[in-house]
């Protein structure tokens, strides 16, 4: 018995250790990047910066702000994401609320029409040709309108409405003389704040992180999302791993420090927001896991 207890305690410690190790793997890259981005160039060039800054140098961040490309793109991406999130939340409610009502005639057909697109897509080329025909290429709207209404979000919200707003509650409001619009605005939406937050965050994070549409549909640099700019910055450097010395000496800071600062600059909004928003995400995927 005593022997077993000790074995069990050792197992406890091992599991704690594994978790600490895994957590470190999630955090250390950012600690390294943050350290590198404010370290002195000479230490970075000597490959001596690990998880603590060596020397102090904000030049990379100053360069980012002076250059203005990333800061402009940051503001632009925030704008696109905000518009996307607002329009997306509204359209998702507009579909999910009616189709969550069992009495609505044709709800099976409408739901099928929406859900089918999740399982069968036309693919990149027909989509590109369509946007071309709609004159949407190289506009901000190509990043917004096609994606605001997503079947997956619709399904989650519909499931929530079905289980949380019983027909009887709605019926009694109706008998008291409330119209459908009043019921939606006065009863349903106030009762659905958690799911609204979840869907809004799904939309916001999804839009903020996606960048392939910037590459596929937009050639104007000023209309690219910031994630795409970052990928171009770092990837174009990775193709030619060694940058010639003459080229590097032209800038006051090494490309490596600039990259680290750029990655931090793009990550900081997400790093700051995510501890507060992750619980809504967890809620969302739990509802999503339940079949609609």
């Amino acid at each position: 018995m005593w022997y077993n207890r000790r074995k069990s305690i050792i197992a406890d410690y091992i599991m704690v250790l594994i978790i600490i190790l895994l957590c470190s793997i999630c955090l250390l890259p950012f600690i390294h990047l943050a350290s590198k981005s404010i370290s002195d160039n000479s230490f970075v060039l000597a490959k001596k910066v690990y998880f603590l800054p060596k020397g102090f140098n904000l030049e990379a961040y100053i360069a980012i702000f002076k250059d203005g490309q990333l800061t402009h793109s940051m503001l632009y991406s925030v704008l696109v994401t905000a518009v996307f999130t607002v329009l997306g939340s509204i359209t998702t409610v507009m579909a999910a609320w009616p189709l969550s009502r069992r009495r609505l005639k044709g709800r099976i057909v409408f739901t099928f029409i929406i859900m089918f697109t999740m399982y069968f897509g036309a693919g990149l080329i027909p989509t590109y040709l369509l946007y071309n025909k709609l004159k949407m290429l190289n506009t901000m709207w190509v990043l917004i309108l096609p994606l605001i209404f997503a079947p997956y979000n619709f399904l989650i919200m519909k499931t929530y409405f079905q289980s949380m707003i019983p027909d009887s509650l709605e019926e009694s409001a109706y008998i008291d003389g409330a119209s459908n619009t009043t019921i939606l605005i006065r009863i349903v939406l106030p009762l659905s704040k958690p799911i609204l937050a979840t869907i809004a965050l799904f939309l916001a994070v999804g839009r903020w992180n996606a960048y392939e549409d910037s590459k596929f549909f937009i050639t104007k640099k000023s209309l690219h999302m910031i994630q795409y700019l970052l990928s171009m910055m770092v990837l174009s450097a990775s193709e030619a791993e060694k940058i010639s010395i003459s080229e590097a000496s032209l800038v006051t800071t090494t490309p490596e420090v600039i990259h680290a600062a750029a990655i931090m600059f793009v990550s900081i909004p997400v790093l700051c927001a995510y501890p507060f928003v992750q619980k809504y995400f967890v809620k969302g995927i739990m509802i999503g896991a339940i079949k609609g």
Partner: protein, 296 residues
């Protein structure tokens, strides 16, 4: 019907968006059966039937892309799929609630990062000449030569898969943790009275308890075997590893948008969509046949 006219009114906008942007793109699929020339448009291009498909199926580049996609997706099932389960089992054994909560929050972090950020981080850490991992290995005398993590095919493939594990592990564990928490506590109590140790309880109660979840998720993963994530491949790719990075999404972009072979790329896209749909339907059937809940 009359009472609900305003509900139908609400439906107009989302249905309009769906029909315009999703169904509106389906007619474009006909270029897979044409020799589409962008300058001539749909009307000016000639119909060729299945000729494009015949060409594609003989195309060596397509073979490479298809093989790579399938290989990587299979490898993903083997490498990435079990990790969230193991992680959930470990998290479930943690005794201090606060520690558990904080570590969960940290482990979910990678899920919130874009592939652009993940790819950039990967390069910062694993570059041969300047990457942190190589710097540490060499400076601390753990390796004599720098390891080309990202510029050799096999190394790149392993890095690519492990980064995928890193990105998806924490988040994937949520569903399993929820499944574990819905297991009847009395089962554990009874087992403890009968003298079952920690591992026995894990093996005979927890794992069977989450088996339905595991099977459903496994089948869903198999339904996505034809998938191909352009952002992930692009963010981690470079010219040295074209041989393994070249997967269906890259093929479609490079043959299509980048070099104007619209018909060929559309044909591959259609092939991918149809096989993908069949796989989803088949796995749904399979799940239901096993008595599990399907996903459609």
């Amino acid at each position: 019907m009359k009472r609900d006219w305003d509900l139908y009114l609400l439906l107009i906008v989302p249905l309009f968006l769906t029909i315009l942007f999703k169904y509106g793109a389906y007619p474009g699929l006909r270029i897979a059966f044409m020799n589409y020339l962008p300058a001539k448009g749909y009307a000016g291009s000639e119909w060729v039937g299945f000729e494009t498909f015949q060409k594609v199926f003989k195309d060596r580049d397509f073979h490479v892309a298809l093989r790579n996609s399938l290989l990587f997706n299979f490898a993903e099932v083997i490498v990435s799929f079990p990790m969230p389960i193991i992680l959930a089992l470990i998290l479930n054994e943690l005794k201090v609630p606060r520690f558990k909560k904080v570590s969960q929050t940290i482990l979910y972090l990678p899920h919130f990062l874009s592939w652009a950020i993940i790819g950039s981080i990967t390069y910062t850490l694993f570059r041969t000449e300047t990457g942190l991992v190589n710097n540490m290995l060499v400076n601390f005398g753990l390796a004599e030569n720098r390891i080309p993590f990202l510029t050799e095919n096999l190394n790149w493939a392993i890095t690519y898969l492990l980064v995928g594990v890193w990105a998806g592990m924490g988040w994937g564990s949520i569903v399993y943790l929820a499944a574990i928490s819905s297991i009847n506590v009395e089962l554990y109590e009874a087992a403890m009275i009968d003298g079952a140790g920690r591992w026995k309880r894990m093996w005979y109660i927890t794992l069977p308890g989450i088996k339905p979840t595991i099977i459903t998720l496994l089948i869903m993963t198999l339904g996505r075997l034809m998938g191909s994530n352009y952002e992930r491949l692009h963010a981690m790719g470079n010219v040295n590893v074209k041989g393994v990075q070249y997967q269906l999404a890259i093929y479609i972009y490079e043959k299509g948008l980048a070099s104007g072979g619209f018909s060929r790329a559309a044909a591959v896209g259609l092939f991918q969509s149809i096989v993908g749909l069949l796989l989803v339907l088949a796995s749904d059937k399979f799940a239901k046949a096993l008595g599990e809940e399907g996903m459609i």
